[in-house]
């Protein structure tokens, strides 16, 4: 397997150097930009200039992308697989833009890794194939031969290695996602025994149990977390915890309970209308729609998408599209819009302006600048505020250009 690495701020700042020795089926590893000669030797990598990289056939390579600013360069080259390594926003970057385009990077990737547990959990609630690249276990979980040595793997390295092997073979990653949830779950459940009064630890245990589909057990930990928060006067937890309770009830199929719990945390008129709509769906037997919407309201888009994907009604497709919009799966949004327009279904999900803006973004990511600008300008003919997308796009392109220049300069 051939790999190509696109670092954010050059090789020096790349924090997963050891991981490169542990890549499965390793044939060739190229790093775009300059790499010190000693590092080339130590890590078994070769540097390649930006210009030379463009002359290679990337369909043969799995690319490891560490910055959202590489999207415009990498996507048009159609790599074999895209492996995204998500990082917290660097201090010198605009956080809003970094986070948005990191979401787009995750949505485009075949597999996502991150050392941040916060980003990891957020992404687990958005999409499949997310892996944590950090951990605490002192145990050794595997061994990989590297040149004359045998490298030992810890839990997350071993899981990442197995997941990448699955990706290379075109197999599903689900099994390894669950193994990692199980390990994280055990870690926090054990920690709760040690620190029974710690709200965050209990919340984390509840989250992993929920991800594993073990809501009846998760409730116990969430109740504990809630009590600890209230005891310590963190009263803003009503909204977050109650919605989580609601989602747990939806996971176990207790939909009346789920709606009732959700209704407790509702303040705005819009949310009240949503509660009415949920009751209405439930009365009409649209169980999966209720379930999916409760998941979405708890920001568990991944479960919502899993619930809605097999359904085939215009209502379910509209909800599915909302979830795709929230998770930046823009190509899926456009596909659903096209499908519904072809079948002349009633389109209650997305406005013309939003559709144009999403189209514009997709064009930009594929480096189709003219089409991107045209789509956004078309949107501005209906809604002038859409112009801000143009300025955002230009800021993104400037940042990407800066990064490309610094990479080229390194050579």
């Amino acid at each position: 397997m051939k790999y190509m690495i696109f670092c954010h701020n050059g090789w020096g700042d790349f924090s997963y150097k050891r991981m490169l020795k542990l890549l499965p089926d390793r044939e060739e590893v190229l790093v775009v930009g300059d790499v010190m000669a000693q590092d080339e030797l130590d890590y078994g990598v070769d540097s390649v200039s930006l210009t030379n990289m463009l002359s290679l056939d990337l369909t043969e390579y799995s690319v490891i992308v560490c910055s959202p600013y590489w999207l415009q360069t990498v996507i048009p080259l159609q790599p074999r697989y895209m492996i995204a390594l998500l990082e917290r926003c660097p201090n010198d970057q605009d956080a809003e833009m970094w986070n948005k385009y990191s979401e787009l990077l995750a949505a485009q990737a075949d597999i996502v890794g991150t050392a941040s547990e916060r980003i990891y959990l957020e992404q687990c609630l958005r999409r499949e194939g997310i892996f944590l690249l950090s951990g605490e276990s002192p145990l050794t979980y595997g061994a990989v031969s590297y040149r004359q040595d045998t490298l030992f793997l810890n839990d997350y390295e071993s899981i990442w290695f197995e997941a990448l092997s699955c990706l290379n073979k075109g197999e599903r990653l689900e099994q390894w996602v669950c193994v990692q949830w199980g390990i994280r779950c055990k870690y926090y459940v054990d920690l709760v025994t040690e620190y029974p009064n710690h709200a965050t630890i209990s919340y984390m245990a509840a989250t992993y149990l929920y991800l594993l589909g073990r809501s009846p057990e998760a409730v116990h930990y969430l109740v504990n977390s809630f009590e600890q928060m209230v005891l310590h006067d963190y009263l803003d937890c009503l909204h977050s915890h109650y919605r989580f309770f609601s989602s747990m009830a939806a996971q176990t199929g207790e939909l009346v309970k789920a709606i009732n719990i959700y209704a407790v945390s509702v303040y705005s008129e819009e949310d009240r209308l949503k509660v009415n709509e949920l009751w209405n769906w439930l009365e009409h037997g649209k169980v999966d729609l209720v379930k999916a919407e409760i998941f979405r309201l708890n920001e568990d888009y991944a479960s919502a998408i899993r619930t809605l994907t097999p359904l085939n009604t215009s209502e379910s497709k509209s909800l599915l599209r909302n979830n795709y919009v929230q998770t930046f799966c823009y190509e899926d949004v456009l596909r659903l819009t096209e499908e519904s327009s072809l079948s002349h279904e009633e389109d209650g999900g997305i406005s013309f302006v939003d559709n144009q803006l999403i189209q514009g973004t997709v064009h930009m990511l594929h480096n189709r600048h003219y089409e991107a600008v045209t789509a956004i300008l078309t949107a501005t003919t209906v809604e002038l505020s859409a112009l801000q997308w143009l300025s955002e796009m230009s800021s993104y392109e400037e940042s990407a250009e800066r990064m490309l220049r610094s990479t080229a300069y390194e050579q």
Partner: protein, 452 residues
């Protein structure tokens, strides 16, 4: 001290290493390190842990002192290998162990130092009690650096311990003569090792822990076969050793008074592979179709089979004299009326000589390793009843279930031991069923059968 010339280390002819292989990704580096770091001549007996274990011979030179054994369903390969030891010292090891320089002479030393020492373990993450040490190393090179530094400072240090549980044990051959092998009634490796070590103490043998040698142990991301101690097995162990059932975990075993145990410590290494009776139920007869069914389904890779055919209904057209078709059967029961199925089955059961019966039906297709797999599950999981749950990939972690209520299972997917009051047979319009007696140990697995 030997290296420094202070004491002459007695010459050691050869050491046998019995390596239990569970994962090829572990077995290859584990063997490579054994070949690299063993200071005495060694003979490795590599035992695959399952039918699915792939060949790994290609990673080693032909001259390497390794015997790769093939997997045999229905026998304990460790006991079989223990019976072949001819060297003074031997090591029983799992492939999760990665050894370090001077590991072998360090483990032999307590046996030379004290003649009553029978079993020796290094410090490692695989020991659950005294010798447990979890250290993290990025690479084998780092592990070697640690060992090089650790060893001289602790050279020759060992202490007597009440029990060992780990994945790397050196022992004297003479112990096998008196102690025999692992207890076949236990399934988890840890309990087998504990039981074996406690039995060694019954023979006044000492167990030693070497403080000057650390070996690394790999862990599995998912529970491996034989890793988890199940409650029924724990009960067997507790009854055997007179331990309170609620005394789990194992640390309480340190307080066990061996002198009060009166059982016979020897467990024979002589094994007798399962003899299986396969009862072939033929309730509808289509001669041509049955001919091809016979060729596909009665050609089994397992060899120790008694074949009994049970033909139900009118089958005048059936060429019973056709020796190719029925020559394989050791006995044939034939009844004209399907309603007489129960009498036919009873007659067949009287003829059974096997330790277990596998039922197969002409309405289903079975893979050629079907009997082998059933035997494998039955033996490995100490199951009374084995039920094939259908298509799919092999379920290596078979579902063990002890039903509280009798639960009917299709007879054509079932095997059971020949034990008293095992259950009852019933028939619906289409299918024969078996209802196992509740509280029997039932194992459900997947693969090897398709509905036609």
């Amino acid at each position: 001290m030997d290296q420094q010339g202070l004491i002459n280390f007695p010459s050691i002819d050869k050491v046998t290493i019995i390596l239990e292989m569970t994962d090829p990704a572990w077995a290859v580096p584990s063997i490579q390190l054994l070949l690299l770091h063993s200071e005495h001549p060694i003979r490795i007996i590599a035992l695959p842990g399952s039918l699915e274990f792939p060949p790994i011979q290609q990673y080693f030179e032909k001259e390497a002192p390794i015997e790769f054994w093939s997997y045999e369903a229905g026998i304990d390969p460790v006991n079989q290998a223990l019976g072949t030891i001819e060297t003074t010292f031997a090591v029983l090891m799992e492939d999760r162990i990665m050894v370090t320089p001077r590991w072998l002479s360090s483990l032999i030393w307590p046996c030379l130092d004290e003649e009553r020492v029978m079993v020796v373990s290094p410090m490692s993450p695989s020991e659950q009690l005294d010798g447990k040490l979890n250290l993290w190393f990025q690479s084998h090179a780092d592990l070697v650096s640690y060992a090089e530094d650790h060893h001289p400072r602790n050279q020759g240090l060992w202490r007597q311990v009440p029990v060992l549980t780990g994945s790397c044990l050196l022992f004297r051959k003479e112990l096998i003569n008196e102690l025999g092998g692992f207890d076949p009634l236990l399934r988890s490796r840890e309990l087998k090792v504990v039981d074996w070590c406690l039995r060694a103490r019954m023979l006044n043998g000492q167990l030693a822990l070497c403080e000057d040698v650390y070996v690394q142990a790999l862990h599995s991301l998912e529970p491996r076969r034989g890793e988890k101690i199940l409650s029924d097995e724990w009960n067997v162990f507790c009854s055997k050793w007179g331990v309170e059932r609620n005394s789990y975990p194992l640390k309480y075993l340190s307080e066990l008074n061996i002198s009060e145990c009166s059982m016979e410590p020897f467990i024979s290494l002589i094994y007798d592979p399962y003899y299986i009776t396969v009862i072939v139920l033929v309730s509808e007869v289509f001669p041509n179709r049955l001919e091809s069914w016979y060729q596909i389904n009665l050609e089994q890779t397992y060899s120790r089979i008694q074949w009994i055919g049970v033909l139900l209904g009118t089958h005048q057209e059936q060429p019973l004299s056709d020796s190719e078709m029925w020559g394989k059967l050791d006995a044939l029961i034939k009844v004209r009326e399907v309603e007489q199925w129960h009498e036919a089955l009873e007659a067949a059961l009287i003829l059974v000589k096997g330790e277990a019966i596998i039922f197969i039906n002409s309405s289903r297709a079975y893979e050629s390793d079907y009997v082998t797999r059933v035997v494998d599950f039955m033996y490995r999981e100490s199951a009374d009843v084995v039920v094939n749950t259908g298509k799919g990939i092999p379920n290596l972690h078979a579902q063990v279930h002890i039903p509280q209520e009798p639960l009917p299972v299709p007879l054509s997917l079932t095997a059971h031991r020949c034990i008293e009051d095992v259950g009852s047979y019933v028939k619906s319009i289409e299918e024969f069923y078996f209802i196992p007696r509740s509280s029997l140990r039932a194992v459900y697995w997947t693969k090897g059968m398709e509905d036609e």
